[in-house]
């Protein structure tokens, strides 16, 4: 009797989970996958998560070096983080090309073209940002005076946030709203 009750309750639990929990958990993911392709999802994640996290946490190595002095490990971690941040598109291009060669093509020529265009747009805005930062420092401090050496890495770290932001926005603009649905129809 108790076994029957247990089985029934388990069935009920499963049904509840099917009715309420799973749709809530999966519906978002499924909707995401229906509406957007992988690159678009990555762009949204970069825009909403990576940019703010990078803008805040990117200063951490600079603070560490300022407090504890420049050690090899700190400088190396800073150099690696900035290189990966600024050249992440290269990794994206490499891995997606490798994956598309294997079997499932999720990254075709159009995606590649969009990635290249958005990267160029990102670099263009980054260049303008560097010029603006440089001119601002030059104007605010007289040319004969000096500034803290930490200004340079700070400008570079914030430059990465600017680059990722621009790249993500340009990617999303290029894909438009109904990218994947129109692809499926075709």
């Amino acid at each position: 009797m108790s076994l029957k009750i247990k089985m029934q309750s388990a069935k009920l639990w499963n049904r509840c989970a099917m009715e309420f929990d799973r749709p809530l958990a999966c519906a978002w993911g499924q909707k995401w996958r229906e509406i957007m392709n992988k690159v678009q999802r990555e762009a949204w994640i970069a825009l909403l998560l990576v940019v703010p996290v990078w803008a805040i946490c990117g200063q951490l190595p600079i603070l560490l070096i300022y407090l504890e002095g420049p050690s090899f490990l700190h400088l190396f971690s800073f150099a690696c983080a900035t290189m990966i941040g600024g050249l992440s598109w290269l990794l994206l291009l490499f891995f997606n090309r490798k994956r598309s060669r294997k079997a499932k093509i999720e990254f075709d020529e159009r995606d590649k073209l969009i990635l290249i265009r958005s990267t160029l747009a990102g670099y263009t805005v980054l260049w303008i940002y560097f010029i603006a930062a440089c001119i601002y420092v030059w104007l605010s401090v007289a040319p004969g005076r000096s500034i803290s050496v930490n200004v340079m890495p700070t400008v570079i770290v914030e430059g990465i946030a600017v680059f990722i932001f621009t790249q993500s926005v340009t990617t999303l603009i290029q894909y438009g709203r109904g990218a994947k649905r129109s692809e499926l129809k075709n």
């Binding site: 290269l90 670099y123 104007l139 007289a142 050496v149 340079m152 400008v155």
Partner: protein
């Protein structure tokens, strides 16, 4: 040699002189006589012009779209884009290296002259121009368009 290849050679040789000398002069004027409108405008103009000059062929191509003669075709566009991407990669590495070197030399509590920043930017422009010109020439190879 096609037009783009000639431009690459010009860019490679004249880029250094066209951007480095006037930019350096602007920084020197600002350092010697104090900050004023003219050197700042001169410097800004040079770095914007030099850094975004790669957009020029694309704009020209769009404006010339209706005409029959095509000087800048798809292959040229692809080569140009690849060269610009390579130049930007090297430029980024240059900025990170410059930053780490300054940190190592001065120390995190030290200070640098404010003129280091515009000079670093000018150096970046020279690196960008040189790498772009080199990458274009390498991609075109020896024979260029005639092949």
């Amino acid at each position: 040699m096609n037009q783009t290849k000639v431009e690459s050679w010009l860019y490679f040789f004249l880029g250094l002189a066209c951007f480095l000398i006037p930019g350096g002069v602007a920084v020197f004027i600002a350092y010697d006589r104090g900050i004023s409108f003219v050197p700042v405008l001169m410097f800004t103009g040079i770095v914007i012009w030099g850094g975004l000059f790669w957009l020029f062929p694309f704009i020209c191509n769009k404006l010339r779209k209706g005409k029959k003669k095509v000087d800048f075709d798809e292959r040229d566009q692809l080569i140009h884009k690849k060269a610009v991407m390579a130049a930007y990669v090297v430029l980024w590495l240059y900025f990170v290296t410059a930053c780490v070197i300054a940190w190592c030399i001065v120390g995190p509590h030290g200070s640098i002259s404010v003129n280091v920043m515009p000079l670093t930017l000018l150096g970046g422009l020279v690196v960008f121009t040189t790498v772009q010109g080199l990458a274009s020439l390498i991609q075109y190879g020896r024979g260029g368009k005639e092949k």
